[in-house]
């Protein structure tokens, strides 16, 4: 590689990292947290005995999983304004990604809740815990252990999916790379650099995931 290329790397690394720190990372974190809360609600709705409630949850999950994330993003940012609802780029992306995580993680959480043996619900009932306390104190803590590996996958996918936000003018990592690359035509350098930064973020997350899994396994026999 030429000296010019190295200069370009040196001068773009700052803006790219700033795109990651101010765009990609907050977008991921905010969307994931909102998405998880939504997913828990949807999972519980899906498990509800009331047909209307579980049916609504089923439709929501089906819509989210059956349509492209990019299309969901476009509908929120480009189509909703025609209904008079104008949302800025960043919040639009948060809404789209939260709804998306909500749909996927809901199935994960539902399966994790169902993996807790029926006897645990019964034991909780016999010591007097009501439904909410049973979920909070007995079932969810055990479901978490089952849900963490698949939810980590969702999280890591989300980091990369946030690059789609570049299409609705959110200044995140990929968008920064595009902006720097366009006038210089150094696409290979800039996109590779962006890829490396995505990869490093995911490496950190994978490490955190293994640590969390080990921590959650401490009360389980091996």
């Amino acid at each position: 590689m030429s000296a010019d290329t190295w200069d370009l790397v040196a001068s773009s690394i700052g803006p790219l990292l700033s795109g990651a720190v101010r765009g990609t990372i907050p977008l991921t974190l905010i969307s994931f947290v909102i998405g998880l809360v939504l997913a828990l609600v949807v999972a519980l709705a899906r498990l509800s005995r009331r047909r209307v409630v579980s049916g609504a949850a089923r439709v929501y999950i089906s819509l989210i999983r059956g349509t492209p994330l990019l299309v969901q993003l476009f509908i929120i940012f480009y189509a909703l304004p025609s209904l008079g609802l104008v949302i800025d780029p960043f919040p639009s992306a948060v809404v789209a990604f939260s709804l998306n995580v909500g749909g996927y993680a809901a199935e994960t959480i539902r399966a994790a809740i169902l993996s807790v043996p029926k006897g645990q619900w019964e034991a909780a009932a016999t010591i007097g815990l009501n439904h909410t306390l049973t979920l909070r104190r007995v079932v969810l803590p055990q479901a978490v252990r089952v849900a963490v590996p698949p939810l980590s996958n969702t999280f890591i996918s989300l980091v990369k999916d946030t690059s789609l936000a570049s299409t609705i003018m959110v200044t995140e990592l990929l968008r920064k790379a595009q902006e720097i690359a366009a006038p210089t035509y150094e696409f290979m350098t800039l996109y590779s650099l962006a890829a490396v930064i995505y990869w490093l973020i995911c490496l950190v997350l994978s490490t955190l995931q293994s640590r969390l899994e080990r921590r959650l396994d401490r009360f389980v026999a091996h």
Partner: protein, 261 residues
């Protein structure tokens, strides 16, 4: 005495009364008109072949199973299951008893002590200091004072089951229900669990026990109920039912479990 006999000294009725209980699972008619009485401070042992309905009967006493017909009364809580029972009534019935499960069903993510304090702290909302002290004493009572901070998977089967007993006692129940508490245990740990149960009986706890431990029934029970095919075939004092059964079905059952070969 930790039981609540003192609360209603004038009440001479049995603590538990069951009349005309019916329960089906799908097309399977598991309980076909059960009547049962359990005196205060007595130990009732339910025996019978698997599928006879004894566990289902036990689970109707705390409404883990909701019968289709019949009445269940435990102390001052009575439910007529001919009508659809209110959720509050089921909760009040359940609160009268503590239960020990065949497969212990301890909470795996909580220590032995936390398993015992869970109900009193979070369901009964009693003061933490008092609950902790009582739970510690209960673990000592079942011989596990040194295991308070152990997680269930770090305990042997017999120890897990003894924590399960302490967890039930911590609720200060009026009735103790045991669902085959030793069936899932290694033979060498059965004794330690039965010994704890024998001590509880001697303290005057009212207990209903589903078990195949005929020797335990003989030594500890005040009343033995033999069930088969969803009905009570025969009941009475252990010496009579176990020693000199009147019914052929009881005789054959006892023969099979006392001399399996």
């Amino acid at each position: 005495m930790t039981t609540s006999d003192a609360t209603t000294p004038t009440d001479t009725r049995p603590l538990v009364e069951v009349h005309g209980l019916h329960k089906s699972f799908g097309g399977l008619h598991v309980l076909r008109g059960i009547d049962l009485g359990v005196d205060r401070g007595s130990v009732t042992v339910l025996i019978g072949p698997s599928g006879s309905g004894k566990t289902t009967l036990l689970r109707c006493l705390n409404s883990l199973e909701v019968p289709e017909a019949g009445t269940v009364r435990v102390d001052d809580v009575a439910i007529d299951f001919t009508r659809r029972p209110a959720a509050g009534d089921l909760r009040r019935l359940r609160a009268t008893s503590g239960m020990v499960f065949q497969s212990h069903q301890l909470f795996p993510h909580r220590t032995a002590l936390q398993n015992v304090t869970e109900g009193p702290l979070y369901a009964q909302r009693r003061p933490a200091a008092e609950v902790r002290a009582e739970a510690t004493a209960l673990l000592a009572k079942v011989g596990l004072a040194d295991k308070a901070d152990a997680y269930p998977h770090e305990l042997s089967g017999g120890q897990q089951q003894r924590v399960g007993i302490a967890r039930a006692l911590a609720l200060r129940p009026r009735l103790l229900l045991f669902d085959e508490p030793t069936s899932a245990l290694d033979p060498e740990t059965v004794g330690e669990v039965l010994a704890v149960m024998r001590d509880l009986a001697a303290e005057g706890w009212t207990m209903v026990v589903v078990t195949h431990e005929i020797r335990f029934a003989r030594q500890v029970a005040d009343h033995v109920v033999f069930m088969d095919g969803g009905v009570v075939v025969e009941e009475g004092r252990p010496d009579d039912v176990l020693g000199d059964p009147r019914h052929e079905r009881t005789r054959r059952f006892l023969q099979r479990i006392l001399d399996p070969l």
